[in-house]
């Protein structure tokens, strides 16, 4: 059975596609050379779409059926090291099966791309979206961010390639989308001309590719005393990625006419007293709840994180420093952490701590296991935040939404 690429024309060069198809389309526009695949729901649809594109002759690339995610990422690393543009991806336990490779790839400074559609980690088997899968690789040196619509998946994939391949950065990138909420729901995606993409995304040029014409060695063994400068250079690359990511986001806006905030979408935050801090698909619901509460006179806003790594400390301080209370909406499990909740709030707390005036922070465990986070839950969270603001103290560091009064 042939898989239809599922590109339904809407109007002009706008198509209506799922997040998975949007990711595959971006890989095609990026003219990737090697695709490495292994099936796991829900990201599989990205690889199915690419396989069909190759079969149809729409994309010229080698397609590797890897024998597992560890092999999948290893093959992508090999291709990237050889100087070819590589594309891979995974979901859930597939991401954790490949864990050895995350530090390896960023340490080797090979800027491959990985598309993630989130899935809850086992046990038990659960197809639903939870960000824990990708987030457990968060400190491994990858640029990492969440898209909340298919259009953003498409745009972010192209941006990520350019950010990661920039010679000031040279780091791998992970563009994540919530499983099902984005990966399997259609949205309008405006497709560019290939010429625009060529203008925006120059050909992949690794300065130290494995090429017999210019021999180099990758990954020679070191002694502990040689470790610090290597780790420092990777940390610096992550820091230096911040201005590059701003630059690339601006250039993207100029070329394609879609202007994204650099790191944080500030939604009705200017005169706000309380706000949600959130990433991923549920931000769409949160935005609607903010609008409704604003109609009722509640001074609430929302900060949506577009890139979690590198963490935009400065942007978070600017966006949230003036508020009275901020509630992080966690869609991830950080078992035994400082808040007994998730991991997003840990970074936010550290980012805001140096401020003399800073908001009170709490967090909400919502959408766990991939359950939807409906409006009434956001209303419940907003009430909690209002109380924090009015009482001037938090009730607890992490609320489990749906389990409390």
């Amino acid at each position: 059975m042939a898989v239809k690429a599922a590109v339904k024309p809407a109007s002009g060069n706008v198509v209506r596609v799922s997040g998975c198809t949007a990711s595959a389309l971006a890989a095609k526009y990026a003219d990737v050379d090697v695709v490495t695949a292994y099936p796991i729901r829900p990201y599989t649809a990205i690889m199915m779409t690419l396989a069909q594109m190759i079969a149809n002759g729409e994309l010229d690339a080698e397609y590797i059926h890897a024998d597992g995610e560890h092999a999948q990422l290893s093959a992508a690393l090999g291709a990237g090291s050889a100087g070819a543009r590589a594309f891979t991806g995974s979901s859930g336990v597939g991401i954790t099966f490949a864990y050895e490779l995350y530090s390896f790839i960023s340490g080797a400074r090979i800027p491959i791309h990985m598309a993630v559609a989130d899935r809850t980690l086992d046990p038990p088997g659960d197809f639903g979206s939870e960000h824990t899968d990708a987030l457990c690789t968060r400190d491994m040196g990858w640029l990492m961010g969440w898209a909340s619509t298919p259009q953003e998946v498409f745009d972010k994939t192209l941006m990520a390639y350019r950010m990661g391949e920039d010679h000031r950065v040279l780091l791998p990138q992970m563009v994540c989308q919530d499983g099902y909420f984005v990966s399997h729901i259609s949205g309008e995606v405006e497709l560019p001309d290939q010429a625009q993409v060529r203008e925006f995304l120059p050909p992949y040029r690794l300065p130290y590719a494995l090429d017999p014409k210019l021999p180099v060695s990758h990954g020679a063994q070191i002694m502990p005393e040689q470790g610090p400068p290597l780790q420092l250079s990777r940390a610096r690359a992550m820091e230096e990625a911040v201005p590059v990511m701003r630059e690339v986001t601006d250039t993207f806006g100029e070329v394609f006419g879609r202007h994204y905030p650099h790191f944080i979408e500030e939604y009705r935050l200017d005169d706000a007293e309380i706000a949600f801090f959130i990433q991923g698909a549920h931000a769409v619901t949160a935005r609607g709840v903010v609008d409704r509460l604003r109609d009722q006179g509640v001074k609430i806003g929302m900060a949506r994180l577009l890139w979690f790594r590198p963490f935009p400390t400065e942007d978070a301080q600017k966006a949230l420093g003036h508020l009275r209370a901020v509630g992080t909406v966690e869609t991830n499990l950080g078992l035994g952490g400082a808040t007994s909740g998730g991991v997003l709030s840990l970074d936010l707390a550290a980012a805001l701590y140096p401020l003399r005036e800073r908001p009170l922070l709490t967090s909400f465990m919502a959408g766990m296991g991939g359950e939807a986070v409906p409006s009434n839950e956001f209303h419940w969270m907003a009430k909690k935040l209002q109380r924090v603001a009015s009482e001037g103290r938090i009730e607890k560091m992490a609320h489990w939404v749906g389990f409390e009064e």
């Binding site: 050379d33 597992g68 093959a75 291709a79 494995l210 017999p212």
Partner: protein
């Protein structure tokens, strides 16, 4: 629009009427240059040099973690004059697949100007037969144009001599130490890795050889590289540190292991789907091989008899005659009657020191 991928074909070396030690027509190039930290008499280092000499300069070498990674690239210095990359220990086959696929695509799409390189991955036996077995099988299954070599020193040597799936029965390793309860040390029989690869991926070129047959080793390297598709070689390469033998005997052991019937040398032809076995001119009892190595110094007659029986089955498999004396040596009594209760007293002493 696609550019045709131009591949390299290297000529074979003459094997008849020549000295084993002086080979004037070998290529001058030495992509594995001196200046590494391997042990004196290191089998895999000798092997690596021969493979890369055979492959010549338009090549890429890939090295999963193992002693050929750690000892060759210490202090950020490597002995390679060609591109080389380290990979995780389980990624030999998969990383190599990526490099091969990358070159196929780049050359076809006009993004790389030049011939397709010889792509060689040197995995240790732990990497190729244990933790990275699936990754090797994946590369052979997908038939990438590359050569994966298992340099078989029959143990995890880099980590300090632990048993691997190719360690022989009776070998002393730090994970199979002999003791009163387990007098033979290792109780399991080794995986036949190359057979597994040939039988399971019959479209691939597969061969075995040892460092005792340098021209054969280089020719098989070239046949594997010239072959349009995936190739696999398993090469016996002694480890002085783990086998515990006199350093100058590395090449000798490479011969003895074949002449004692313990490591059949063969070539599998994917066209005819048949094996070509080397039947050595001389045959010896396995004890002649065992007594040279401290790792077997603890074995007694009953264990040696079992090893002789396994060698005899291999002689039968390759179609060699099994001398009557060899059959008699399958019986533990054979050793008792000759007063041999140990594989070798000298070896035992050495093993104690180690």
């Amino acid at each position: 629009m696609a550019t045709e991928v131009e591949r390299q074909i290297l000529p074979l070396f003459e094997i008849e009427d020549r000295s084993r030690w002086y080979n004037p027509d070998l290529p001058e190039t030495d992509p594995f240059v001196p200046g590494h930290r391997t042990c004196a008499g290191c089998g895999p280092a000798i092997e690596y040099r021969l493979h890369l000499k055979a492959a010549e300069d338009h090549s890429i070498a890939i090295g999963p973690t193992g002693c050929m990674y750690v000892a060759n690239s210490s202090y950020m210095c490597t002995p390679y004059s060609i591109p080389w990359a380290h990979t995780p220990i389980a990624s030999g086959g998969s990383f190599t697949s990526g490099v091969a696929a990358g070159y196929e695509a780049m050359i076809r799409k006009g993004k790389y100007q030049g011939k397709y390189p010889n792509i060689i991955c040197m995995s240790g036996d732990g990497s190729a037969s244990d933790i990275g077995l699936g990754s090797v099988s994946g590369m052979l299954y997908r038939n990438h144009d590359a050569l994966l070599i298992c340099y078989d020193n029959e143990q995890y040597a880099n980590t300090g001599i632990q048993t691997s799936p190719t360690s022989p029965y009776g070998a002393m390793t730090t994970f199979t130490p002999p003791g009163p309860k387990i007098p033979e040390g290792k109780k399991l029989w080794p995986k036949e890795v190359a057979k597994m690869m040939a039988e399971g991926h019959p479209w691939c070129y597969v061969a075995t050889t040892t460092v005792g047959y340098p021209i054969d080793l280089m020719n098989k390297t070239r046949r594997g590289l010239n072959f349009r598709g995936a190739a696999f070689m398993q090469v016996y390469a002694p480890c002085q540190k783990g086998f515990v033998y006199q350093t100058p005997l590395t090449i000798e052991l490479g011969k003895m292991v074949v002449e004692c019937g313990l490591f059949p040398v063969w070539e599998y032809d994917p066209e005819t789907r048949s094996y070509d076995y080397l039947i050595p001119e001389q045959q010896h009892l396995v004890i002649e091989y065992l007594k040279l190595q401290g790792r077997f110094g603890h074995l007694s007659g009953e264990h040696i008899a079992k090893i002789q029986a396994s060698a005899n089955r291999k002689w039968e498999m390759i179609g060699a005659d099994v001398p009557a004396d060899f059959r008699a040596a399958e019986d533990p009594g054979y050793y008792v009657s000759r007063g041999i209760d140990k594989a070798g007293a000298a070896a035992t002493e050495k093993a104690k020191a180690w």
